[in-house]
């Protein structure tokens, strides 16, 4: 069935608000229908006569709006979020802005983090070392492998049981030095 196009359809076509398929259908319709063609030209003529106009607000009006945006930024909810992730800008001065050389804030954070981790690691290592000296029960692996050194250290403790064991170890070593009896 052939579609009947109205004035409103012509306006939609003139303002480019028809789908491609509908537009093609419309074009074939105006080619076949002289009355529709006349109506189309009638509206087209008027639409083309409408002049283009563009007015700009004054610079002062725009400036006042932007001033309002800046002045009320801290009061807004958005600003509170912004404070958590600050964006550097001309109105947001930080200590880095006063340095003679431009430094990437991310690099500063990375270096600080690295230093913090290094100091932490050194502190733990120091504490472990101190703990090994202060606590006689802590015996490191190297000491376990060297019974002679262990013996020398433990001589100071004045522990008779350990002393006996050390004697046994010493005797064992002496026996080993003499070699196995075949």
């Amino acid at each position: 069935m052939k579609r009947q196009f109205k004035d409103e359809d012509i306006i939609r076509f003139l303002f480019d608000e028809m789908s491609q398929a509908e537009g093609e259908q419309f074009l074939s319709a105006i080619c076949a229908d002289e009355t529709l063609w006349d109506r189309y030209e009638y509206f087209q003529d008027m639409v083309e006569q409408i002049p283009s106009m563009s007015y700009e607000p004054s610079a002062l009006s725009c400036q006042k709006v932007l001033e309002y945006v800046r002045d009320t930024a801290e009061e807004s909810i958005g600003a509170s979020i912004a404070d958590q992730t600050p964006t550097p800008g001309p109105h947001r001065k930080s200590l880095l802005d006063f340095l003679p050389v431009k430094i990437n804030p991310n690099a500063v954070v990375a270096v600080a983090l690295g230093l913090f981790l290094m100091i932490g690691a050194m502190s733990i290592a120091y504490k472990l070392q101190r703990g090994a000296i202060d606590n006689p029960n802590t015996i490191n692996t190297a000491q376990q492998l060297d019974p002679i050194e262990l013996e020398e250290e433990k001589l100071d403790w004045d522990d008779s049981d350990i002393q006996k064991k050390l004697d046994q170890v010493r005797n064992g070593i002496e026996n080993l030095k003499e070699g196995p009896v075949l």
Binding site: E8, E41, D45, M46, I50, Y55, P57, I77, T87, G89
Partner: protein, 203 residues
């Protein structure tokens, strides 16, 4: 951030950026739409000073509404701003009706402020004369018809968007546009001032 970056950013992303505290996003939105918003307001109220005041009111209201999370029309920023502009313009007319003030600028023709470029040929002079004349005729249209014509031609809104802003169906918006064009033609024929126009009308 580079200004070029903002130029390529979509409205919805600029709004998100503005909500999260980046004021430059609003700068871009303002520079993107200030002309369309102001032209629409100006053509509705027909007074430069009132248009300037209303423009500021509209943009400040836009800022407040975005910040308070009342903007939820993603991807349709301009129609939303034009709706606010239209409502504030209507409020303005209501106030004026309640408290009529005799303004000095009442006789001021808004189209006098349109800068005339130096016409180089007779054809150009005629075209400029016709354009100025049509602009005057647009101001004589009934409010609802003029409103649709302004929003479609100068704010670049679709008939669907205009229908949503003015709370009417698309067919009503299209019907108003149809009457606006018919009335413009009628007014032009009555005055007969449009040069080089009679031939096309009489066909």
């Amino acid at each position: 951030m580079e200004k070029a970056f903002f130029k390529k950013t979509q409205d919805k992303d600029l709004i998100k950026g503005f909500i999260s505290g980046n004021d430059y996003c609003f700068d871009e939105l303002l520079s993107r739409y200030k002309s369309k918003v102001f032209t629409t307001i100006y053509l509705i109220v027909k007074d430069r000073c009132i248009a300037e005041d209303l423009f500021q009111d509209v943009m400040i209201k836009v800022v407040r509404m975005i910040r308070s999370g009342k903007y939820n029309e993603e991807g349709k920023f301009l129609p939303w701003v034009i709706r606010i502009a239209r409502n504030l313009a209507i409020d303005h007319f209501r106030k004026v009706q309640r408290n009529p003030i005799q303004r000095e600028s009442e006789d001021y023709d808004i189209f006098n402020s349109v800068q005339q470029s130096e016409a180089s040929s007779e054809e150009e002079i005629i075209r400029e004369e016709n354009a100025r004349y049509i602009k005057k005729l647009i101001q004589q249209l009934p409010d609802k018809q003029r409103e649709v014509l302004i929003m479609r031609n100068y704010a670049d809104l679709s008939f669907k968007e205009i229908a949503a802003i003015t709370d009417v169906s698309i067919n009503t918006a299209l019907g108003r546009m149809r009457y606006a064009l018919l009335n413009l033609k009628k007014l032009a024929q009555e005055s007969g001032q449009l040069q080089g126009y009679e031939e096309t009308v009489q066909r």
